[in-house]
């Protein structure tokens, strides 16, 4: 049976979380190694935006400033996410390592299958979205959880997990947010709006988005949620997770990415390093 590396479960600030994910990804591109799974939490609320998003057009900078909500650009694609009460996972692996393939959809589906098995251990019946929602509420188009894409996870028709990927030289990083609780009002307010009434937006989000707390059939906390999702990965991927720390190279790269990229306004606001 193959083994995957499981990194320590930790709560970091958003800058560090992104730097760790990218450091593991870059090292995997350079040195290979077994797939890596990581679960993490956020020290304080953060809005992350997708690699190519226009932060001024999408995020309410004034609101985020008043609430001390950090704004961080991800290395991955996709839309803006408000991270607060959630468990975040990240997977780094070779695209060619079964069951992954070079096409993106197969990777999404393979990881979604792990998440489905994990959530099932809490009695939550999640399923793959077969198609995206066509009628996204205006002015929420830049918000990840307002837009379920094909192959993302739904519970009773509402999105519970949003994921995004980066790819380079045969390797991928996929990370995603599994919502523990959902705050529709703050999620709406961190986004920029030019149209539509706030009550309408909140009502829309409350219908379109759900969370673990709402559907879990047994008690859980952040650690037990990470544990059962990890078991879902082990079962679906037929492997054993083995806890290990970041390598020295990864730690060095993390520090470099932190100071040269994720802690800079140039990257977070303009998308340049």
């Amino acid at each position: 049976m193959q083994t995957w590396r499981l990194l320590p479960f930790e709560r970091l600030d958003g800058y560090e979380n992104m730097a760790v994910d990218e450091a593991v990804f870059r090292e995997s591109v350079l040195s290979g190694g077994p797939p890596t799974l990581r679960f993490y939490l956020w020290k304080r609320p953060v809005v992350t935006i997708g690699y190519g998003q226009d932060v001024v057009a999408e995020v309410n900078l004034e609101f985020c400033g008043e609430r001390n909500i950090d704004i961080i650009r991800r290395p991955t694609g996709g839309k803006a996410v408000y991270h607060d009460a959630e468990l975040t996972y990240s997977v780094v692996a070779s695209q060619a390592r079964p069951p992954f393939k070079e096409d993106i959809v197969t990777t999404y589906r393979a990881i979604a299958a792990c998440l489905i098995l994990g959530l099932d251990r809490l009695g939550i019946a999640a399923e793959l979205a077969e198609r995206g929602l066509p009628d996204v509420k205006d002015s929420l188009e830049g918000c990840c959880f307002a837009v379920p894409y094909r192959n993302e996870l739904l519970v009773e028709g509402a999105k519970i997990c949003g994921s995004a990927q980066a790819r380079s030289r045969g390797h991928f990083l996929q990370h995603g947010s599994i919502l523990i609780d959902f705050d529709a009002l703050t999620t709406s307010r961190v986004m920029t709006h030019t149209k539509s009434d706030e009550k309408d937006r909140v009502r829309y989000l409350e219908r379109a988005v759900t969370c673990v707390r709402k559907h879990a059939k047994r008690e859980f906390n952040e650690e037990t949620l990470a544990h059962v999702i990890g078991e879902g990965f082990e079962e679906e991927m037929n492997m054993k997770l083995q806890e290990e720390e970041l390598t020295l190279n990864e730690q060095t790269l993390k520090k470099k990415l932190l100071s040269g990229k994720y802690l800079t306004q140039k990257w977070n606001l303009e998308g340049r390093t």
């Binding site: 694609g77 996709g78 060619a96 393939k101 993106i104 959809v105 995004a164 990927q165 380079s168």
Partner: protein, 131 residues
Amino acid sequence: MSYPDDLLYTRDHTWARVDDTTVTIGITDFAQESLGEIISIDLYPLDSSVKQGEPFGIIESDKTTAELISPVSGDIISVNEDIFDDVGVLECDVYDAGWMIAVEIQDLGELDNLLDCDDYEELVDQAEGRR
């Protein structure tokens, strides 16, 4: 899916059209189809240098960013700026209108590291589990 026989290819799904010492570069049909709906492209600017096997830009689809890997080393002598405003061209014409950069190659020997169309087709078949 068949691939033009006048091009060379990388394992990272980029192609190279060689004309003397000028190498024009783009992505293959396979790359375009597996990315899904392409949203934007970010390419290294004119006059910057690229290295074989290293990125020359990033392409973003609705849920993924992917580094574009250069087939050769050299200086970028031309950038197709038209695709910045019309990424849709990649869905219909990756090999001509969808070219991305042109590079003045430094070492023609690097071309020996690239795949011909038959080898590339075999690589794609393997990636898709057909072989």
